[in-house]
Symmetry: C2
Subunit: 244 residues, 2 copies
DNA sequence: GCAAAAGTGTTCTTCGTACACCCATGG
DNA sequence: CCATGGGTGTACGAAGAACACTTTTGC
């Protein structure tokens, strides 16, 4: 387990001499529900951290790529289908004592999910469930391991990605109004945005949203136009956070 | 080695049942020399990829954090001291076949280094040496493993970090002129910038650079004022790339 | 008509860009 | 003096912020 400690890299070593790590993937699955940013957590049944919440995740298998493992775990633990929006690698966490049982390096991934009707069903995990991000970050001990840190990093990544990419549409259903899109920005950034200026910026940015022609009816108020996600992935001009 | 494949995450498993991975750190060490962005590579002595260049790196030890391992490998393989500028995690690479010998997950790190007088000395590796990034990216097979991909990701990260952070000063000596700082931007972005507008933006951004009071003398031309890195880490207003 | 939400126009300011121009040194 | 690079002033346009105003529905 300790290794001969060859110091010059991958050369001159015997594989068996080197420390074995477990490699896992953890998932920060974000969605916007009820004007609030929420994250998918599961309830841990066993020690360590029994009874606490944790991010979904699990071990990477021998033949799998990291992203593949993340997609598999997402499906297994939450019943969510592949590509429920967008999945990207977030960062890796490998502090020696982050798991008391063994040396684990976890590759965290970030998923932007639309608010599906029944997002957590037919799940393999005991209980998968949406929780407000703000609530979990206010109580860092509610999450097992270093998952609070991972969540914080995922949130910060999400916040900055909304500024210069079109990923906010991943949080929306296939067709959406400008107000729904604004709700995404307001929930992720935790700030109120001017509806009038927001509307102009969104419709003015090239390839961000594309009108469908139809409108959405609602109680009280003029019906809103419906949009589809546009072709662009980068956002120009960018939508910068107010408190910059 | 294959595992019982418990599907519900870190619960109900026996550690010995799970696939063992080797975990390494790889380093993308960038600097600007001779008006050109360069990266530190070592020459591999042994198979696989014997004779080819590779990014410096090596195995993570049992008691080490990931960033710690990166700093140690940097010192061992290149003789560079800790914190030669700035070190941050880049991304992890874990394709099943990325190393023909064993299953390896590599956590890549990115270092911004100043152009030191003798950056590679007393090195443990056979030969560590600066190479132009553009040259290596134009010939992806010159680098071992998936290091070309890692380098490309590191370059893109560096490019965007210059836009909205003050990290460019990490490429400069402790005291520098605006022209030297501009050389960093031009080398990393591969674009010419207007010296006059650049000067105003740099000196106008809050906390980016701080005048020392002294000047630098040079052959032909008015002496330039010398600056130190300022206190800010974020850059406001941002310095955006021309071709946006 | 009235409330409510969607969407447009207008003004002010900030920032990017282009480029004319002046400043301070070495030769 | 003149070549060379450092640094400032100015003018125009694009984009952000604030907010008055018009539009289109339900009741």
């Amino acid at each position: 387990m300790t290794g001969r400690a060859a110091v010059s890299g991958p050369e001159n070593y015997d594989p068996a001499d080197y420390p074995a790590f477990a490699v896992t993937v953890d998932l920060v699955v974000l969605t916007v529900r009820e004007h609030d940013l929420q994250v998918l957590v599961i309830r841990r049944g066993e020690a360590p951290f029994a009874g606490r919440s944790a991010l979904p995740g699990g071990f990477v298998w021998p033949g799998e790529d990291l992203a593949e493992a993340a997609r598999r775990e997402l499906a297994e633990e939450t019943g969510m289908q592949v590509v429920p929006g967008h999945l990207e690698q977030l960062a890796s966490y490998g502090a020696p004592d982050r798991d008391p049982r063994m040396r684990v390096v976890s590759v965290a991934h970030l998923v932007f999910a639309a608010d599906l009707p029944s997002p957590v069903a037919g799940s393999d995990a005991a209980a998968a469930d949406w929780r407000p991000v703000s609530e979990l970050l206010a109580h860092p001990r509610w999450l097992a391991f270093d998952h609070s840190r991972i969540l914080a990093d995922g949130l910060e990544r999400a916040r900055s990605k909304l500024e210069y990419t079109t990923l906010a549409t991943s949080f929306c259903p296939p067709e959406f109004t400008v107000a729904q899109l604004r709700e995404v920005y307001e929930a992720v950034w935790g700030e109120r945005l001017d509806p009038r200026n927001f509307h102009r910026k969104v419709t003015g940015a090239t390839g961000f949203v594309e009108p469908t022609g139809s409108t959405s009816s609602r109680a009280g108020g003029r019906p809103a136009e419906l949009f589809r996600p546009g072709a662009a992935s980068g956002l120009y001009p960018a939508l910068l956070r107010p408190g910059s």
